[in-house]
């Protein structure tokens, strides 16, 4: 059997992390290719439902990243996001969603190397954890024929 290749979805803000990831590329720093990047105007826009949907659609891990505190292009978007992440993460923990599979980080436009490192460590740790079968089993619908209670 082929080695497990984790599918990672990264939700990043346009102004810092996306630019940072860009820098990673232009600096020719090599990093794992398991990540699909989705760009948002701001971390404040990253709805927690999107994270659940990513798992639903088969992601094994998620990266959420944006500007460092005080660096938000819109002044406070990342502060709001941070509160939301704190609560969402604890709700995930409470419902048994594997919080090890969701990495949060601050990566600025100048931190190309940090981005590469975040991706590489995330891929490595998800590779260790294996595919997110617990979630996929429950999301198996619509393959299942009838859902009784």
């Amino acid at each position: 059997m082929a080695e497990f290749e984790p599918k990672i979805v990264a939700f990043v803000c346009n102004w810092c992390t996306y630019a940072g990831a860009d820098l990673t590329g232009t600096s020719r720093i090599k990093y794992a290719s398991n990540v699909r990047i989705i760009r948002f105007p701001c971390t404040g826009r990253i709805d927690y439902m999107l994270l659940l949907k990513a798992f639903d659609e088969g992601a094994d891990g998620i990266i959420v990243s944006g500007c460092h505190p005080n660096d938000c292009h819109y002044t406070s978007g990342n502060f709001h996001a941070r509160r939301r992440w704190i609560m969402f993460r604890s709700l995930c923990d409470f419902t048994g969603i594997d919080t090890e599979r969701i990495k949060f980080s601050w990566v600025s436009a100048a931190e190309g190397a940090k981005w590469a490192e975040i991706v590489n460590t995330t891929v490595a740790s998800i590779r260790e954890l294996g595919p997110y079968t617990d979630y996929k089993k429950v999301a198996k619908y619509p393959e299942k024929e009838v859902i009784h209670g």
């Binding site: 659609e57 619509p142 009838v146 859902i147 009784h148």
Partner: protein, 341 residues
């Protein structure tokens, strides 16, 4: 066919369960979780709940599942392929422990799914079900089957109806249909010949509380009544009543897809939801809760009798028990009967 009466010893029920299991029947029986009972695929006789007046959920799930695939589709380079639900996959099911009001509700549900257009998914599911009804020896303040044409020992809808003969007694088994007979054939020695008659004295006593014919006639001129507004003021517009009801059949059709593959599914819906009838334009013909409550009662006691010749209510009282704000259908029907137009 004539109803054949047999005696089933108290301890034979478990043997019957095991025999059916050995004949690879799926058995849906009442199962209690968090103090609420629903019908579940049950592996052991010991897991079956007993002593309930009525299960929290009805057994309609068995022929009309809350979520059910209608068809599968997949897109590929070759084009689109669509495949209907494979009806051969539907297992043979014994529905165990259904109360007579629930069993008779199957008939009402069927009248909807057979109205003109025959819904073969429903029909096929139902055709695989053998219903073991259990008569009621107890009732509570929510029960009113006798007011809508039923009774605690009603055989309608059951393939075999079991009646407990006294607290610690044996069961009288009435074999009502060919399907019931087929079960007897699997366990001949458990169904003993008997000449017992008169199960009535073992049944719950339930006086008639209103006349459903009177209600129907009353409703003909009741559409504009203020009573609907008064009754529905405390209704919060959830779907609990519809979802526990044995005869509510309203549904929604939705597509669920992942990537290039998916299914079209049918799922329960409720006329009590405020968005049930909203047009795409935003216009809502039933834009207040009183109109939605009226629809619920009118549908069951006026529209269904007129269009399908059956009443959409079996008097099981589930909706009243499940209602978070104590909308008691029996009480409301009585007040409809009493109010002067």
């Amino acid at each position: 066919m004539n109803i054949d009466k047999r005696l089933v010893r108290k301890d034979s029920l478990e043997k019957l369960f095991d025999i059916l299991k050995r004949n690879s029947k799926t058995i849906y029986a009442p199962f209690t979780k968090n103090g609420k009972s629903t019908f579940r695929d049950t592996e052991s006789f010991g897991a079956i709940s007993t002593g309930y007046i009525q299960t929290t959920e009805s057994a309609k799930d068995i022929a009309f599942p809350r979520t059910e695939k209608l068809l599968d589709f997949s897109k590929s380079k070759e084009g689109m392929s669509v495949k209907g639900t494979d009806l051969n996959d539907i297992p043979d099911v014994i529905l165990w422990g259904v109360r007579p009001c629930d069993a008779s509700g199957i008939g009402e549900l069927s009248s909807i799914f057979n109205w003109d257009y025959k819904d073969e998914i429903y029909i096929n599911r139902l055709s695989k079900v053998t219903v073991f009804g259990f008569s009621c020896s107890k009732s509570d303040e929510y029960c009113f089957c006798t007011s809508v044409g039923g009774n605690p020992g009603n055989t309608a809808g059951s393939d075999i109806l079991f009646t407990l003969l006294g607290e610690e007694g044996d069961y009288l088994a009435e074999i009502i249909t060919e399907k019931g007979l087929a079960v007897v054939d699997l366990a001949q020695n458990l169904f003993e010949k008997t000449d017992i008659s008169g199960k009535e004295k073992f049944l719950a006593e339930l006086p008639v509380k209103f006349s459903h014919e009177d209600i129907r006639l009353k409703l003909d001129k009741f559409f504009e009544s203020k009573e609907w507004i008064e009754q529905s003021l405390r209704c919060l517009g959830c779907g609990a009543c519809a979802y526990v009801c044995p005869t509510c059949a309203c549904f929604d059709i939705q597509d669920e897809a992942h990537g290039k593959k998916g299914s079209r599914v049918r799922c329960w819906d409720s006329c009590g939801f405020s968005h049930f009838t909203v047009h795409t334009s935003g216009y809502n013909p039933r834009n207040v809760q009183s109109a939605r409550w009226r629809q619920r009662i009118m549908h069951k006691f006026s529209y269904m009798p007129e269009r399908l010749s059956v009443y959409g209510c079996t008097g099981c009282g589930r909706c009243s028990r499940a209602c978070p704000v104590d909308m008691n259908i029996l009480e409301h029907l009585i007040s409809i009967q009493e109010v002067t137009v």
